[in-house]
């Protein structure tokens, strides 16, 4: 653990990632304290100060109805992170369990499960999420469902492949020989050997989930106004480029920081966890 931490903080890029993610998480957690105008996360109108460029009062300017962009970005982070956590918390366990079962049990389990994941993977992710959102009403919960539905097959694939490899290892046979149950072998013997890959993928994915959710709301299919959301803020501001550049550039940068941070950590983890195998 300590060794891992040393390596993690020893690499400047990974350290950058850690700092960026820490900033994002702090910003989201302390939004109520940090935001200069907490009420601006809702449907507030202040036409005196609308569409102002960045200033000492409004660090990132104001939007078209006079709300502070900085405050809204902080609250948008909160929603992005919650969404990201919920999506991964559902998609990863589902995908991992199905992957281990398909890989270890083989036979019809393998055929059935892997063909179902193939079907999901054959549809471009954004199209799949868009069609789910299009059929259902575009709400936060439906957004989570749509993104979760397109995410779990990747974990099934990943874990399935590792399980197929681990199944041939001596320790699996040794466990079978001492009469271990199939559940024990799948979840106590093989699964721990998949954890490094799963953790790495989760960290990388955290950034991509934020990106996908933002893309959805950029297309108007995600979180609905007046709830602040990075994607819809970029979409809204893009109409007024380049004059009111702050409307889309700051939310865009906010997305960049979060995705970039998670990706740097993911790369660092891959180096650490891949090293001793």
């Amino acid at each position: 653990m300590r060794r891992a931490l040393t390596i993690l903080t020893g690499n400047p890029l990974t350290l950058t990632g850690l700092v960026l993610v820490a900033l994002v998480v702090l910003a989201a957690a302390l939004a109520d304290v940090l935001a200069p105008f907490p009420v601006h996360r809702g449907a507030v109108v202040d036409f005196v100060n609308f569409n102002k460029p960045p200033s000492s009062d409004y660090w990132m300017g104001t939007d078209l109805v006079g709300r502070d962009l900085f405050s809204r970005i902080l609250y948008a982070y909160r929603i992005s992170l919650i969404l990201c956590a919920v999506v991964l918390a559902i998609a990863v366990p589902v995908g991992v369990v199905l992957g281990v079962m398909a890989g270890y049990l083989g036979g019809w389990w393998e055929y059935g499960l892997m063909r179902v994941t193939d079907v999901f993977l054959s549809i471009p992710p954004l199209v799949l999420a868009m069609s789910i959102m299009g059929v259902l009403s575009p709400t936060l919960v439906n957004g989570m469902m749509a993104v979760t539905a397109m995410w779990w097959p990747w974990y099934t694939r990943l874990v399935y492949n590792i399980t197929r490899g681990e199944k041939a290892e001596g320790y699996v046979l040794a466990a079978e020989v001492i009469g271990a149950t199939r559940a024990h072998i799948m979840f106590r013997e093989i699964l721990p050997n998949c954890v490094p890959a799963i953790v790495t993928k989760m960290t990388l994915d955290a950034g991509f989930v934020i990106l996908i959710v933002s893309s959805l709301s950029f297309l108007g299919l995600g979180v609905q106004p007046p709830t602040p959301d990075l994607g819809s803020m970029v979409a809204e501001g893009a109409k007024y480029l380049p004059d009111s550049w702050w409307l889309s550039v700051f939310p865009g940068l906010a997305i960049l920081i979060a995705v970039f941070g998670f990706n740097l950590i993911g790369d660092g983890l891959r180096d650490i966890l891949g090293a001793h195998r």
């Binding site: 001596g170 079978e176 009469g179």
Partner: protein, 289 residues
């Protein structure tokens, strides 16, 4: 009565392209406390025989098994899957070729040892398991059991892992130990040491051993009786001494001639098929065979 009695064992695999026969009526028996070797080249059916005895192939959809395997007088085919699982790890255990890959790399030795002991004593506590494991590791001449128990398999040498495997295999005092080319992955001196150790321990505990190997030198040292297997058939059987001194079957003679010698010299090739290799089995005056 024999501890293990295998009669007319046949095995075939059903594949897309048809049926492949692997074993053509294997017969062998192991008495209590006896050390029996099964010798043959790769692909002759040594390992699958061991897996059938362990009940690992019975549940495979494509495998068709005929004949009879009796362990302690009970026919394995008549047991349920659950009963067969109960035999494994308690009354029958196994040692493998590559000790390091037989241990799960993500756990330290201590918890893995506990899993093995829990087969016999389901409610064993971690402290009790540690105590038992320490005693068992000392039995296999490991001088610092505490350090070994707190290590991951990849932190230990191959010889050390092999000894851990032997200790685990004998931990529940099984009646039958299957040794599938133990230590083939290790260097020769370590292999010799661990085999000595294993020989001593099974003698102490009165464990029967089915020793599967292609290493004739080791077999000659270790086994009381030897079966020679060729293409899924037993071609020669008898006391090790007799088989080695007066090999009666053409295949056994070819196998013995293919032993590399320290003094060098070219090795004769064993031809793939020779009609004489399918001669009837040669038995060396074993009563009851």
């Amino acid at each position: 009565m024999s501890l293990l009695e295998v009669r007319n064992l046949t095995l075939s695999f059903r594949l897309w392209s048809g049926i492949v026969d692997v074993l053509h009526g294997i017969a062998l028996s192991i008495a209590k406390g006896e050390r029996v070797a099964l010798v043959g080249e790769s692909g002759s059916g040594k390992s699958v025989t061991a897996r059938i005895v362990l009940g690992l192939l019975q549940d495979l959809p494509g495998a068709q098994i005929g004949g009879e395997v009796r362990f302690n007088g009970r026919d394995l085919a008549s047991l349920s899957r659950h009963e067969r699982e109960a035999l494994r790890g308690r009354d029958i255990s196994m040692i493998f070729q590559d000790p390091t890959s037989s241990l799960n790399p993500v756990y330290k030795i201590a918890p893995q040892f506990r899993e093995v002991l829990a087969r016999r004593t389901p409610r064993i506590t971690l402290a009790e398991a540690r105590e038992r494991a320490t005693a068992l590791l000392q039995e296999v001449a490991i001088t610092e059991p505490a350090r070994v128990l707190d290590s991951y398999p990849f932190q230990l040498s191959g010889g050390m892992n092999q000894r851990v495997m032997i200790a685990m295999a004998l931990a529940n005092r099984p009646a039958l130990l299957l040794a599938d080319e133990p230590g083939t992955a290790l260097d020769v001196t370590v292999q010799a040491q661990t085999l000595d150790l294993m020989a001593r321990l099974v003698a102490d505990h009165g464990t029967s051993v089915l020793f599967i190997s292609h290493n004739l030198g080791v077999v000659r040292e270790f086994a009381d009786r030897t079966y020679v297997i060729y293409r899924g058939r037993i071609v020669e059987a008898g006391p090790t001494q007799a088989v080695f001194e007066a090999p009666g079957h053409a295949y056994t003679r070819a196998l013995m001639a293919a032993q590399p010698r320290l003094t060098g010299g070219a090795l004769p090739d064993i031809v793939e098929r020779d009609p004489r290799f399918f001669d009837p089995v040669v038995l060396h005056g074993v009563p009851g065979c």
